[in-house]
C-alpha cells in the first residue's frame, strides 16, 4: 500500500485533535493494533503541540505543516513549523528538559516520541523553525482471533 498526504493548519490548540484524527485515518487501511494507533497518535500530538506552544508561542497566525507517506506497513510523518526554532536540539531532547516549566510542561515530549517510534529526527535552527520526522512500522495483520495482550 502506498499513499501520501499533506495537511496545513493554523497553530491553535483545537487543531491538535484534527491532526491526530486525520493521520489516524491515513493509516487505518493497515489495520494497526489499538496500542500501535494510540502510540502513533501520541507522537503526533507531542510534535504538533510543540510546534504550537514552543515554535509559535501560541500565535494563531503560525502555520503547522504535516506530511505523511505510507510505504508498505511503514509510515513516515513530517511535522514542521516556521517558528522560533531550537538553540540546542541535544539538550532539548533530554528527558525532563523544558523551557516552559511554568506552563505545566513536563519536558517528556521528545522522550515519549523516541520511545513510541522506530526512528525520530529533529532538524531545527534558532529563528528558522523546526522539522520533526518519525517512522513507525505497524505489525503484520493478525489472524481472526485477537492478539490483544
Amino acid at each position: 500500500m502506498e499513499n501520501e498526504m499533506t495537511l496545513s493548519f493554523a497553530a491553535i490548540s483545537e487543531n491538535e485533535a484534527l491532526a491526530r484524527m486525520t493521520l489516524t485515518f491515513f493509516v487505518a487501511p493497515l489495520d494497526p493494533t489499538l496500542e500501535e494507533i494510540s502510540e502513533y497518535k501520541t507522537v503526533i500530538s507531542e510534535a504538533v503541540t510543540n510546534a504550537i506552544i514552543h515554535g509559535y508561542e501560541e500565535q494563531r497566525t503560525g502555520i503547522v505543516r504535516v506530511h505523511a507517506i505510507l510505504d508498505g506497513r511503514e509510515v513516515t510523518v513530517t511535522i514542521s513549523d516556521e517558528g522560533g526554532g531550537i538553540d540546542n536540539v541535544e539538550e532539548a531532547m533530554q528527558p525532563m528538559y523544558t523551557s516552559k516549566p511554568e506552563r505545566e510542561r513536563s519536558g517528556m515530549g521528545f522522550t515519549i516520541m523516541e520511545s513510541f517510534t522506530d526512528n525520530l529526527t529533529v532538524d531545527s535552527r534558532r529563528g528558522s523553525g523546526t522539522t520533526v520526522t518519525f517512522k513507525k512500522k505497524f505489525s503484520p495483520v493478525q489472524e481472526a482471533c485477537s492478539s490483544v495482550g
Partner: protein, 127 residues
C-alpha cells in the same frame, strides 16, 4: 472506615470524598487543549484547602499525551504532596508506558477506587 463516593460533592467528572480525597475521572481526550479546564477544577478544590490526596481514574480516558503528565505533576506540586498523595488507576498500556518513562510508575495502582482510597488514607495517616 467506610468510604462512600456517593456522599461526596459531584462536579463535572470529579468527586470530593470524605477525608479530602479528590477522585478525578477525565473522559475523552486529554491534550494541551483540554488540560486547562480539568486543572482549574482540581486546583479550586486543592486551594480551597479541601484536598489531601488525588486519585486519577483514567478508565474513561480515550487519549492522553504529555499534557496529562504535566497536569498530574502540577497537581502533586499544588498539594505539596509528599510521595504518595497521588494514585493513578486504569491507564491504557500506552499511558502506562508514559507514566513509567516520566518517573510516575510508583503511583500506578491496581484495583478499585475504594482500594486506592484505603491506600491513600494509610499513606496520609502515616500507617
Amino acid at each position: 472506615m467506610n468510604y462512600e463516593p456517593k456522599g461526596g460533592i459531584h462536579m463535572n467528572h470529579m468527586t470530593l470524598a470524605p477525608g479530602g480525597i479528590v477522585i478525578v475521572r477525565p473522559a475523552g481526550e486529554l491534550d494541551h487543549h483540554t488540560a486547562d479546564s480539568i486543572k482549574r477544577e482540581v486546583s479550586r478544590l486543592i486551594f480551597g484547602g479541601k484536598a489531601t490526596g488525588i486519585i486519577w481514574d483514567l478508565g474513561n480516558l480515550q487519549f492522553m499525551d504529555s499534557a496529562g503528565i504535566g497536569l498530574i505533576l502540577g497537581r502533586m506540586r499544588d498539594l505539596g504532596a509528599v510521595d504518595g498523595g497521588t494514585v493513578i488507576l486504569n491507564p491504557s498500556p500506552t499511558m502506562r508506558k508514559m507514566f513509567e518513562l516520566s518517573g510516575l510508575g510508583s503511583h500506578l495502582a491496581e484495583g478499585t477506587e475504594e482500594d486506592a482510597m484505603k491506600r491513600l488514607g494509610g499513606i496520609l495517616h502515616g500507617k
